[in-house]
Amino acid sequence: MSNRGTNAGPGSASRTEPRFAPDALDRRPVKPSKLGYNVGMLVVGIIFIAAIYGTGMDVRALVDLPASIIQYGQLMAQGVFQVPDETVAGYWTQSFAAMFESVAIAWVGTMVGALFSLPLGFMAARNMSPLPVYVVVRFILSVIRAVPEIIFAIAIMLPLFGFGSGGGGALAGAMALGISSIGTLSKLISEAIEAVDGGPLESSRASGSNHLQLIRWAVLPQVMPEVIAIWLYRFEVNIRASAILGVLGAGGIGSLLSTVFGARDWDRIGIVLVVIIVVTMLVDQISAFIRHRVIHGAGVRSGGGEPHDDDGAPGPGAGPEAGTTVEDDPAPKSARAAAGL
């Protein structure tokens, strides 16, 4: 105190003498060993180089890449910006029709998935179902999640419903997407159910409700906004996933993509890509708006009216579920929800 009082004048920043000889406590802390980190980095580096050799890819192709991107990019831009005459207008309508078919495929797929995912989600939630049911349903769901949707498409749906846009291919794609959606959707829904507030459950049990009444009056009102958000998320994912099924013959934008790329028709490729980007971003925006509205209610503005990617608080991403994460999957839930994005 007294020291400070006397030395407080401006410019007199003289140091006070240390009262003790410096000992171990005054030394800077020892840096923790970085050995583990360095070894880890080294291993990753070795794996990386080995993997580059493993792909057998021709790195020299990269040298020509910028030139060809510019060249073909110009061709595509010419295609997009040319004055639409009869044929070009036809290309645009065809592209939009194919993209809307993709959206329809994704919607039907999401509906099929949603239909099954709600009951399965309840069966896979530990606080809602007995242990044997829980274990069996969890196992089935993890098998479904491990199977890529092209497998459902190739093995069952395409032969069952037929190929091509006209011949049932769209329905085949939708069913394949629907079946493979079940796994992720049910898992996310079961996690939302496991994270519900226990109060309403307890009070409805105390007032003598049976299991169905419990679900109807205590659980569903709590999880429904989140469930709707999860479904919409999957809808966005399915729009992108339907493209790969389209290449296999399931109709939609994927079929058109493989046709125009097969012909190397750069005008049309440019048009198709622009249509994909516009429609996908539009659907994402609408879906993000609805998700935000459903989760937060009206009146809560999403931050600052940003035009892009403004789904800062998606249902499955935010929330107190972190503590109740199930053992087989501690990945961030927003990452899970974006599966196949």
Binding site: V44, I47, F48, A50, A51, I52, G54, T55, G56, M57, D58, A61, D64, L65, S68, I69, F100, A104, W107, V108, A146, V147, P148, I150, I154, A155, I156, P159, L160, G168, A170, A174, P221, Q222, A243, I244, V247, L248, G254, S258, F261, T280, D284, I290, R293, I295, G297, A298, E306, P307, H308, G312, P330, A331, P332, S334, A335, R336, A338, L341
Partner: protein
């Protein structure tokens, strides 16, 4: 958490407590949900009729509903009429349940969207029994896969795994940088952040197979060495989109304390991002990386269809030869590999985080 209505002010006036008959004790009557305004519901009914007319005009189905009325027989297209009935019924239920306007509109929009999507994909399950004979041979092949074939495509598996590793590592690195620029917390200014976000949402909106076709075309073929190159580049774009989006959202929500401390200590932007933000998001980053690696395994198998090499190409070859027992072997191996990668990444995640 409830879906609140922005237009509930319409309906509060119509709520009249007097109708309940005042009790002898003079207690206030039990509160009820306010009655929604009938006018708005009438408007929604009009919307349903407009949708019905559009369905009628654009519908291609020849199914016709005949309504005999004795002196004259009315006809109407079957499916649009069913659609209209469902829409009006839903509105009625919503009205009786006193759903607010926004909820009723949402239900109506849902039905219209579903009708449109269902009619676009010609949704029907009636053909399944007669077409089941097409599926049976394939399912039989799946139950009896050609196990010896699995070992002969091990090189293709190696290519697929390698592609996934390379794309994951490079994609995560680029994604980290982009995320740093995209989040307003860590970017130099708001303009940069908005621009990067716009670019990123364009990158994300093109599906992975679109990128694969694009790079195959750019590089000029799928000859030896060129296919995997195109595949890696396609997966790279796919990964950049995911990692940049997820990570920039993580950066948005970092604890501001360390950032402020770094600013107060006079750190420049690089130092601040390196020392105050990166350590906070590192666990999330590793986790996203492992997740993206899983996605890449599936995606690189799928992308083989467009000829970027790897196991997908081998599968497509067998599929075109109608050698279903070989396809079945590959698909089963794919499921096993995906499960193994899943377990491996779970192990790493547990070790690291």
């Amino acid at each position: 958490m409830a879906i609140t209505s922005g237009t509930s002010s319409h309906s509060t006036a119509s709520h009249s407590p007097a109708t309940h008959g005042a009790s002898t004790l003079g207690a206030t009557p039990r509160p009820e949900a306010p009655k929604p305004s009938g006018l708005v519901y009438l408007g929604l009914g009009g919307l349903a009729v407009v949708a019905f007319i559009i369905f009628w005009i654009t519908g291609v189905s020849g199914n016709i509903l005949l309504i005999p009325l004795g002196f004259v027989t009315l006809w109407a297209p079957l499916y649009p009429v069913i659609g209209l009935a469902v829409m009006l019924l839903t509105l009625l239920v919503c009205f009786r349940a006193r759903t607010n306007t926004m909820g009723a509109f949402g239900a109506l929009a849902f039905i219209i969207m579903s009708y449109w999507a269902g009619s676009t994909v010609n949704f029907t399950l009636l053909e399944i029994p007669e077409r089941w004979s097409n599926v049976e041979p394939r399912l039989m092949a799946f139950l009896d896969p050609n196990w010896s074939y699995i070992w002969t495509v091990r090189d293709q598996w190696l290519i697929t795994l390698s592609m996934a590793v390379v794309a994951t590592l490079i994609g995560c690195a680029i994604g980290l940088v982009l995320a740093m620029f995209a989040s307003p917390v860590s970017s130099p200014n708001k303009g940069v952040s908005q621009a990067i976000k716009a670019v990123n949402s364009v990158i994300r909106s093109i599906p992975d197979v679109g990128w694969a076709l694009l790079f195959v075309a750019f590089i000029g073929g799928t000859a030896h060495g060129l296919g995997p190159m195109a595949g890696v580049l396609a997966l790279l774009m796919f990964n950049i989109g995911i990692v940049a989006k997820l990570l920039s959202e993580t950066i948005d929500s970092v604890n501001p304390g360390p950032v402020e401390a770094a600013d107060a200590a006079g750190a420049n932007l690089t130092q601040r991002n390196r020392l105050a933000i990166l350590p906070q998001v590192l666990p999330g980053f590793v986790s996203y990386g492992l997740y993206v690696f899983e996605l890449n395994i599936r995606a690189s198998a799928a992308l083989g269809i467009v000829g970027v090499g790897g196991i997908g190409s081998a599968m497509m070859l067998q599929l075109n030869r109608f050698a279903f027992e070989n396809v079945a072997a590959i698909l089963i191996a794919l499921i096993i590999v995906v499960l193994l990668v899943d377990m491996f990444s779970m192990y790493i995640r547990r070790k690291l985080l």
